[in-house]
Amino acid sequence: MAEHYTETVLAAVNELGREVTAAEIGHYLHIQTQRVHKKMLNVLSVLCISGRIARVRQGVYAPIRNQQPQTIELRQVMWRVLKMRRRVTVEDLQTMAGASYVYASDWLRMLEDKGVVRKVGIDGEHFAVWQLIATDAELPADDKEAARLRTYRSKKKEALAKMRSARTLINQAIAAMEEEEKG
């Protein structure tokens, strides 16, 4: 029962979704007696201690949100790293963006083909260094990847069409056999 009430209060704070006073939470939960209000305050205190909500200041609470809410595509993270550092190695993209060696190298080569970066040499540990030369450029589309996806989609479409026609034929065959059995 206590567990259930804790979840109810937590859900209320999350649904309100902003910094709220204890009175606002009480109002949201339609609390009418002092006893239940006290119970809610205790639950809020427990939730704060367990780190499930935050106490902004006395009597004001807020939901804890994920610090990195949006999922960003890997190539966008790599692009941000490149824009920030202007000179990157494949190692930088591996450590900072979490890309694999092959993906980061291919991506930098694609950018070089598009004239966005230039290979300028090697660093102290023999990693190639790439310099951003088109500083105002937007994240270029990966044509090779796009072409691969286009081929995949068209093949998938073709296969689906074939499967659908096969299903129609099977259904027709079943119907014909059933009819024959009845007759």
């Binding site: 902003r18 910094e19 935050a54 949100r65 990195q68 979490g98």
Partner: protein, 243 residues
């Protein structure tokens, strides 16, 4: 035949990186939408080579935050223009007031944390601009810099009173060195080896990285693939240049 040891670059969660995550969680607590809560400034400082910029850039790149690295020749307008571009403003203004408005609009529309690196280059005038932006938008602005930064911020009471979190990037610890070598090469370090590498690095993560690469080469050429002993660590550290 034993397999060759390879150096595989990885972002290692050092003590500083973990503390930085905690600082950012503290700054973003209760911040979920536009104009929620009060303005919050952060101060991240430490000597060069401790991984401040790399940690901040990694966090900013993965979270989609705005990041501006200052340049010594910048004027206030240059700073505001760079910040506006970072916040996605396509056509920046050429007057300070107008550019400031564009920054405010962008931050209100898309309230992302803003990082200003090498902020100690700026004087009080810039701090006032940053304070104004934070005050109007209720956003999170984190200043990153070297030892002078906290002093500069403390001098301005209105800025310092809005600084919710302060963090010093400390020298890398011995356990950070052990974790770094293990994560990037899979080689376990013995206690004397860790001590040698830690001492040689002087708390600088870049030197730890360089010595780790040297350690990989030494381990492969001497065909030593078990726990790294003091002798091997000494060889690796000796190869690197010392300042």
């Amino acid at each position: 035949m034993t397999e060759k040891i390879r150096f595989t670059p990885a972002f290692v969660q050092t003590k500083n990186a973990r503390n930085f995550d905690a600082v950012m969680s503290g700054l973003l607590m209760g911040k979920g939408g536009a104009r929620e809560g009060d303005e919050r400034l952060g101060c991240i400082w430490g000597r060069a080579g401790r991984g401040k910029t790399r940690t901040v850039q990694t966090w900013a790149a993965k979270s989609g935050s705005a990041y501006v690295e200052t340049v010594s020749v910048w004027s206030e307008l240059d700073f505001l223009q760079a910040l506006a571009r970072e916040l996605g403003v396509r056509q920046v203004a050429w007057r300070r007031g107008r550019c400031f408005d564009l920054v405010i609009n962008a931050m209100l529309t898309n309230p992302v944390p803003v990082f200003v690196d090498e902020a100690e280059r700026f004087g009080q005038r810039y701090l006032e601009i940053i304070r104004d932006i934070a005050k109007i938008t209720g956003g999170v602005i984190v200043l990153v810099g070297e030892e002078e930064l906290p002093h500069l911020m403390r001098q301005n009471r209105r800025v310092w009173s809005r600084t919710y979190q302060e963090m010093e990037f400390e020298p890398v610890s011995q356990s950070d060195v052990i974790m770094y070598v293990k994560s990037t090469t899979t080689l376990p370090l013995s206690a004397p080896a860790a001590e040698i590498m830690h001492k040689a690095s002087g708390g600088d993560l870049r030197i730890v990285r360089r010595d780790t690469i040297n350690l990989t080469h030494a381990a492969n050429s001497l065909r030593r693939h078990g726990e790294v002993d003091g002798e091997l660590a000494r060889i690796a550290c000796k190869v690197g240049l010392r300042g």
